[in-house]
């Protein structure tokens, strides 16, 4: 049974999530603040952590906890689940080493799907690559099983959301994917500008590896498409 830790200072939400995830078959433990969580984690690490950023009186307690967890384990999947949706917080959270950054208007089903995806990815990482699970588009290679993206054989470090968005685009090169398509494919519900910034971040990550990268094409007013040269 997978062990999930929820660090959330709002008891109602914490309890709801615990109950929901327990119904899904996870072993869930909840913590109201950073101190109690850290004490528990010293004894045993969970398989996945869902962290709220603001914890009680600590405005950035979640970030600190994320750092602590990362120092304890490099591979532990961490999801930020927070009410804060500003660009800065998102970027901060992902830079701290979180695997995903979700806002609290997400539905429980969606959350469960994300958790499932992360666990799947963890499992996939442990397994040898399966040739069938590979999607190759020119210099791009997508490993859907391990949720890994390679550009010119170099690993592109994408978040889960970004992976699903890229996956959605690369699956059918040349086809325009609207923002709504991308949202549903990545299973997130955010506004258009968030999608835009996600796409921008994906582009940046590719450009960091290859400055000539221009495969993600903006079709103004409609969406994005994977342009294969």
């Amino acid at each position: 049974m997978k062990k999930i830790a929820i660090i959330e200072d709002e008891p109602a939400i914490r309890e709801n999530y615990i109950e929901m995830l327990s119904l899904q078959g996870y072993q869930v433990s909840g913590f109201a603040d950073r101190a109690s969580a850290e004490v528990a984690f010293k004894n045993a690490l969970p398989d996945l952590a869902i962290v709220d950023i603001g914890l009680g009186h600590e405005i950035d307690g979640g970030f600190l906890l994320c750092q602590t967890l990362r120092s304890l384990s490099k591979t532990l999947p961490i999801i930020f689940l927070t009410a804060r949706d500003s660009e800065i917080d998102t970027v901060c959270g992902l830079r701290m080493g979180a695997d995903d950054y979700l806002t609290k208007d997400i539905s429980l089903a969606h959350l469960a799907a994300r958790i499932g995806a992360l666990f799947r990815r963890m499992e996939a990482l442990a397994q040898p690559a399966d040739a069938n699970a590979l999607i190759t588009r020119g210099q791009l290679t997508l490993d859907t099983q391990r949720m890994q993206v390679f550009w010119q054989q170099q690993l592109v470090d994408l978040t889960v959301t970004e992976f699903w968005m890229l996956h959605s685009l690369a699956q059918r090169p040349g086809h325009v994917k609207s923002r709504n398509d991308l949202m549903s494919d990545a299973k997130i519900y955010v506004d258009d500008s968030t999608i835009t910034s996600h796409v921008k971040r994906i582009r940046k990550k590719f450009v960091a590896l290859d400055s000539t990268f221009d495969c993600i094409d903006t079709v103004y007013g409609m969406g994005y498409r994977w342009e294969q040269h």
Binding site: I88, D105, S107, A109, D191, G221
Partner: protein, 711 residues
């Protein structure tokens, strides 16, 4: 509306400086009054000094004044001092300048009253004068028949003749007759002895209307009585009694008129006073002038001594003389030496001061010359002989000296005042300019600190000046920063609100979802669905509320990139045509490149919001017009639709956050009025502008976005 700035007010106030010259002028005027009084006293002093020299010296006056009770003009003669020698030639041009002094004798002076007498029968003009020890007399006789003395006649009275009666200094009464044979040189005859008397000589000349006689005799043969008679004989046969017209009755020595010759003795004494700078007269108690000295033109007292105009030496004196004095003398009057003098060579003086002096009181008076060019001060002082006033000394001076003095001091005063005013006005002007410029600067910064929409755009650079304006700028800066803080608070309200709402919404949502996983009966399922629907809408509201904030944040972090506006707009429009097949779009988009610097996604979002807005408000089956064109360095994008017009007064504010003009029917979807706010944010980011107005027909709305192009 006339507006007075600080500067003009200061200038107006500085006009009070102009009171200074007035005050100075008044002061100098007072001073002049005192000076005049001083001059008056001095002049009275002068007359007193001279009178003192003449007191108790009857010898000087005995000859001259015979203690007559009255003096009759015409009978009592006065020998004027003649300035030029008289040539005895029968022509009267020597006398031209004394013409006004001629006394006209007409029928009033006939010895026997004759009512039938006419001026052409006999009348004459006459005056006597004194020059260089000679007494001169002139007669201009009008006579219709001139009868000369017959050549062989011993008689000297059977013809027209001139009779002279005089008293010698030793009291002897003599009569002389001038009876010419012809025009030319003449001598008198002693009337008693009928022998020629050559001391009296003259010239006789006939004229068209009569004849002229000029004659002279030594002054030392004359006492104080003199009379002349013109005897007109109209026919040689002496049928008619001769007409006699005379200055006084020559037949009776006691009736003889007096003659007054300016006294050489007194003149000598006066001459000594001639250097006093005054014109001085000595008059007898019949107002007749005994002696005179000095001219009024030079009599300015001693007041202006040393103030004579000197040639300018320094540049300042030259400047003063060339530029300042012409201005000053537009106000001031320069005392003039050329003025009319009525008392020039008068035989008898008049005036209150004299009348008073002859009563024994020293007095003075002021008078203006007839041409108003000068003011003359006269002082009179009585001359006493044995408790009797025998005459008076009159001194006259113009006030020119005092006026020169006054002018000099006014010049100096004006110089000082001019300098004070100049410096004062300039200082005040600069002071006012500085203050007003500081205030204007403060006003400008205060205005710039808040934009047309009322947003605080910047802070005020306050000044460190330790005065009221500095205080004002500091408090302005304070206000603006506090206002900015409050505006920030308001602007962040929606994002903070959304953040705060998110947690309770998550509680409700997760609870509902958990509830949904439990078995429900039909009724509870219905309520659960409704509750979920409400939460979903709440979630949507929260997302929209943070949308603008997030756009602001992403705008702040976005780096501008070059892109083609035309491509973006065209792409978007194709998208809309695909997405909304039920809507009509009328496009007028230029196909040339419109290079811009910025974020194409934001532009697409802007167009999104505009099209959304247009679709929401447009009437069914009407097209949404979209046009894009280039004007000079700008691209203009307009989106127009037919539909309800914008309410008045809201056209500026519909681009503000949380402003919506939707009617109640259109409020089915949650709407926070952030769409057009986002449009404005994007416009601001691209340094463009957006306007909304009703179209010309009034049946629709036009949004125009102007964006600068980047070449």
């Amino acid at each position: 509306m006339l507006r007075f700035g600080l500067r003009s007010k200061f200038i107006l106030l500085s006009c009070f400086l102009f009171l200074l010259p007035w005050l100075g002028y008044e002061y100098v005027w007072e001073m002049e009054k005192f000076l005049r009084q001083g001059q008056e006293k001095t002049l009275v002093g002068t007359t007193r000094a001279l009178a003192t020299a003449l007191h108790e010296r009857p010898a000087l006056f005995d000859e001259q004044t015979n203690f007559l009770d009255q003096v009759v003009k015409g009978r009592d003669l006065y020998a004027y001092n003649l300035k030029n020698p008289i040539q005895l030639d029968g022509k009267l041009n020597d006398w031209d300048s004394y013409q006004p002094l001629f006394w006209h004798y007409d029928k009033r002076y006939l010895q026997k009253t004759d009512n039938k007498h006419q001026a052409s029968d006999l009348s004459f003009d006459h005056m006597v004068g004194k020059f260089d020890n000679y007494l001169y007399a002139v007669f201009k006789v009008t006579d219709n028949t001139l009868i000369y003395r017959a050549k062989n006649s011993l008689s000297i009275t059977n013809n027209d003749y001139l009779q002279i009666g005089l008293k010698t200094p030793d009291g002897q009464f003599n009569t002389y007759i001038i009876a010419p044979r012809q025009d030319g040189w003449i001598n008198a005859f002693d009337a008693n002895t009928k022998t020629p008397f050559t001391k009296i000589q003259g010239y006789f000349e006939s004229t068209e209307s009569g004849y002229n006689v000029e004659l002279r005799f030594p002054i030392n043969m004359l006492g104080n009585k003199l009379g002349f008679a013109i005897v007109d004989v109209d026919n040689k046969e002496a049928l008619l009694e001769p007409k006699i017209m005379s200055t006084s009755n020559l037949n009776n020595p006691n009736d003889l008129g007096s003659v007054l010759v300016p006294s050489p003795e007194i003149s000598r004494i006066l001459k000594g006073m001639g250097h006093s700078g005054s014109r001085i007269w000595v008059v007898d108690n019949h107002h007749r002038v005994l002696a005179q000295s000095g001219t009024i033109q030079n009599a300015d007292g001693v007041w202006a001594d040393g103030l004579a105009n000197q040639a300018p030496e320094t540049w300042w004196q030259r400047f003063e003389q060339n530029y300042l004095h012409p201005i000053y003398y537009k106000i001031l009057t320069r005392p003039e030496n050329e003025f009319l003098d009525t008392l020039h060579d008068v035989a008898s003086m008049q005036g209150t001061h004299l009348a008073k002096a002859l009563k024994g009181q020293p007095a003075s008076s002021w008078r203006l010359t007839p041409d108003s060019k000068a003011v003359i001060l006269s002082a009179a002082y009585p001359i006493w002989i044995q408790d009797q006033v025998i005459g008076a000394v009159i001194a006259e001076e113009t006030t020119n000296g005092v006026r020169t003095l006054r002018n000099k001091s006014l010049e100096k005063l004006f110089n000082v005042i001019l300098a004070v005013m100049l410096i004062g006005t300039v200082t005040l002007f600069f002071f006012a300019s500085r203050i007003s410029s500081r205030i204007r600067r403060l006003r400008d910064t205060a205005e710039q600190a808040i934009d047309a929409q009322g947003r605080v755009t910047g802070s005020i650079n306050y000044s460190d000046a330790n005065d009221e304006i500095g205080d004002l700028s500091r408090s302005f800066s304070n206000i603006v920063s506090r206002l900015g803080g409050y505006t920030d608070y308001l602007e962040n309200m929606s994002s903070r609100l959304s953040h705060e709402l998110r947690t309770p919404v998550a509680v409700v949502r997760s609870s509902l979802e958990n509830l949904q996983s439990l078995p429900q009966n039909e009724l509870s399922q219905k309520y659960l669905d409704r509750a979920s629907e409400g939460v979903k809408r709440l979630g949507k509201i929260i997302t929209t509320m943070s949308e603008a904030t997030r756009l602001e944040q992403s705008i702040q972090s976005n780096e501008p990139e070059p892109f083609d506006l035309q491509k973006v707009i065209n792409g978007c429009m194709q998208g809309y045509q695909l997405t909304y097949p039920n809507h009509l779009f009328a496009l007028d988009v230029c196909q040339s490149k419109l290079p811009m610097q910025g974020a194409p996604e934001f532009i697409a979002q802007l167009l999104d919001k505009l099209i959304n807005n247009a679709m929401e408000f447009s009437e069914a089956n009407t097209a949404i017009n979209v046009s894009l064109m280039q004007t000079e360095n700008k691209a203009t994008l307009t989106v127009s639709n037919t539909g309800p017009a914008l309410p008045d007064g809201l056209t500026e504010h519909i681009f503000d956050s949380m402003v919506s003009v939707r009617s109640q029917q259109m409020q089915q979807q949650p709407h926070l009025g952030l769409g057009l706010y986002i449009v404005r944010l994007v416009c601001d980011y691209h340094k463009g502008s957006v306007t909304a107005k009703n179209n010309e027909q009034g049946d629709g709305v036009v949004f125009a976005v102007s964006l600068p192009l980047h070449n």
